[in-house]
Homo-oligomer: 378 residues x 2
């Protein structure tokens, strides 16, 4: 696995249970996964020679993030080491404009969008939409980075100076959504696929803070349509491993809600952390099964509801006393910490709790996350 | 953690999730846990200097087995590093005769027993019981090793030549049991304790092959009495971490069943493997929480029933194709492999499956284990 953040870290336990030898290529010996993995050589994912050297010892290569450059992936492919997801699929998670073009070809609902390389094109799209729009750098953004809501071309004057025909910007309508959903599926090289229940994701300041599984009150028709879209995207794009499709739920003119696709991620994803405790097969186990072309596990929910709350770094740099408190207060919480130093706003862990009363579960997960962050003290 | 078998291996994932740095002292770099743990220095648990050197880098010492000699434990204690369970408790898991003496003092039901150093004492016990009895070497046995059913003192002539007042043998009546049960509890240094539901264990050729959780048809009174005994033993002996109390269920003269205690183990135990998937808090997580004096997690079962089947090594040395088959046949199975080479009869993994129909679950777990062992091929 190239990359050694929390996604690689949470793969360590499932790999051990499956009897799989997992190596992670770490950027630093103190990386989240490097702290707990038996094999964690250090090397940067942009260093072609280093990645190739790492890949020589692997049977299959997969990823903790989507930032490995195309030339590095091509060099690994030349070795004959299988890469999952394949670079031909991964490009659609690496490049948001490529993703929009492909999904539109497939007839998957998307926000209205355009590419732009100059102020005239930006102004034309603003006029077409008739209000503020979202501008994105197609590559390299995450958690709100590389994304701006704009009202005029001047708002991205700095980006436009660097834009070109070869490297345009992506413009999208600002979707008036009811809420955000995510569809998580896994697909193996043999083509077997499995979908977890559709979830609701709650973002705060562009960072996912809560996931409710399954999405409460979601119409069965919309759940089926969203799941079908997730499976179809995985199949048409040739995704192997876990695919997360982030969606906006929108109110339809006929009173029936629909969806448009926001983003794709081809790896275990924050919207699937609930599966570690709330599903028969967690996303980290399933990703490993998928990229190794092992038969997939059942994605069924184990309880009526699971609430997940992300723990973000706050002003408390020492977690121990708060950690003890939340464990003592609620012995049913499943607490996952990433071994990362605390920085304000940084994702340092998450809490899962499952049961039959969603409001109660949500309050308990939220309380624990807020207490660990230090924003409440009772 | 001293020792790096499968119990240490299965602690690696929970330690990572809890944000705990786990080091295992391995006897060999290819040990089950050493293959997956980030910190796995090599050294033998009987090597006093090596264990002390290892312990200097630890905040707390715990165990994967009970074979660390008393002088080694004393040297670690002198460093001031907390040992859990403490040697004063651990002695009762290391020495079956010490255990029988102490449990009898506490009034915990035990089989009739005696110590013996010569043939006369053995014959006297045989006469008292009036039938075959079980002879045990008090130290070092496991999975049926160091245990013999005897009809005459001659059957253990070899053991008697080595027995002495300082090192006697243990004789126990051969219990006419209904079935075997196990009570698994965890206790922290602060005295907090939690008990999982009582389970039925099925032994084949003195090796645990199946666990049914909870024990089907167990009377609520007997379940309560057995649990109370487990918690009382943990408290009275000062056990910290997980304690497994293996019991025989026996038919009472009044038609109400009772129990006698068979063995104690002070560490995660085969009878608790079902908790990894079947309980809110698995035994490996709970053991870590307990020995670190963190608040304990909820031991509730997550589903009405969980069946566990041990995978024993058979004639198939290459598991891959059978592994794929059982995964494809039943996507609800939770498969745990230990990374151990296959030898006939060796525990190399286990299968958990949870749900509401115990007969069905048991058949599925058993089938998968038999298929992996190579004793069935369909």
């Amino acid at each position: 696995m190239i990359g050694s953040g929390q996604l690689a870290r949470m793969s360590v336990g499932p790999a051990a249970e499956l009897g799989i030898t997992l190596s992670v290529l770490a950027t630093d010996p103190d990386d989240s996964a490097a702290l707990v993995a038996a094999h964690a050589p250090v090397g940067h994912h942009t260093d072609l020679d280093r990645v190739v050297q790492f890949a020589r010892h692997c049977d299959v290569i997969t990823f903790d993030h989507e930032h490995v450059p195309a030339d590095v992936l091509a060099a690994v492919a030349e070795l004959g080491v299988p890469i999952h997801p394949d670079p031909s699929a991964l490009q659609f998670a690496q490049d948001k404009l490529a993703m929009r073009i492909r999904l539109t070809e497939l007839g998957i609902p998307c926000p209205r969008w355009a590419s732009a390389t100059n102020a005239q094109e930006v102004t034309a799209f603003l006029d077409r939409i008739g209000g503020p729009v979202v501008a994105k750098t197609p590559r390299g953004g995450y958690d709100g980075k590389g994304v701006r809501v704009i009202r005029a071309a001047d708002d991205i004057a700095d980006w436009l100076t660097r834009a070109s025909e070869a490297d345009p910007l992506l413009l999208e309508e600002l979707v008036d959504f009811v809420r955000e959903l995510a569809v998580l599926v896994a697909r193996s090289p043999s083509g077997q696929a499995a979908a977890w229940p559709v979830v609701e994701t709650v973002q705060t300041d562009s960072i996912c803070t809560e996931v409710l599984a399954p999405a409460p009150g979601l119409s069965p028709d919309l759940a089926a349509a969203a799941t079908e879209a997730g499976l179809r995207i995985a199949g048409e794009l040739g995704v192997t491993g876990v695919l997360a499709v982030e969606m906006f739920e929108i109110a339809g003119p006929d009173g029936r809600n629909g969806f448009v696709v926001n983003e794709l991620a081809m790896r275990p994803h924050n919207s699937g952390h609930w599966t570690m405790d709330g599903s028969v097969t967690g996303q980290f186990e399933q990703h490993l099964r998928a990229v190794l072309d092992l038969p997939l596990g059942a994605p069924d929910a184990r309880e009526p509801w699971t609430a997940m709350a992300n723990v973000l770094g706050g002003d408390l740099t020492e977690l121990y006393s708060t950690y003890r408190h939340i464990m003592a207060r609620d012995p049913h919480l499943k607490i996952h910490l990433y071994g990362k130093s605390v920085r304000p706003g940084r994702k340092i862990g998450h809490i899962n709790v499952s049961g039959s009363d969603l409001d109660d579960l949500r309050e308990r997960a939220r309380h624990a996350a807020d207490y660990l962050r230090g924003v409440i003290d009772e």
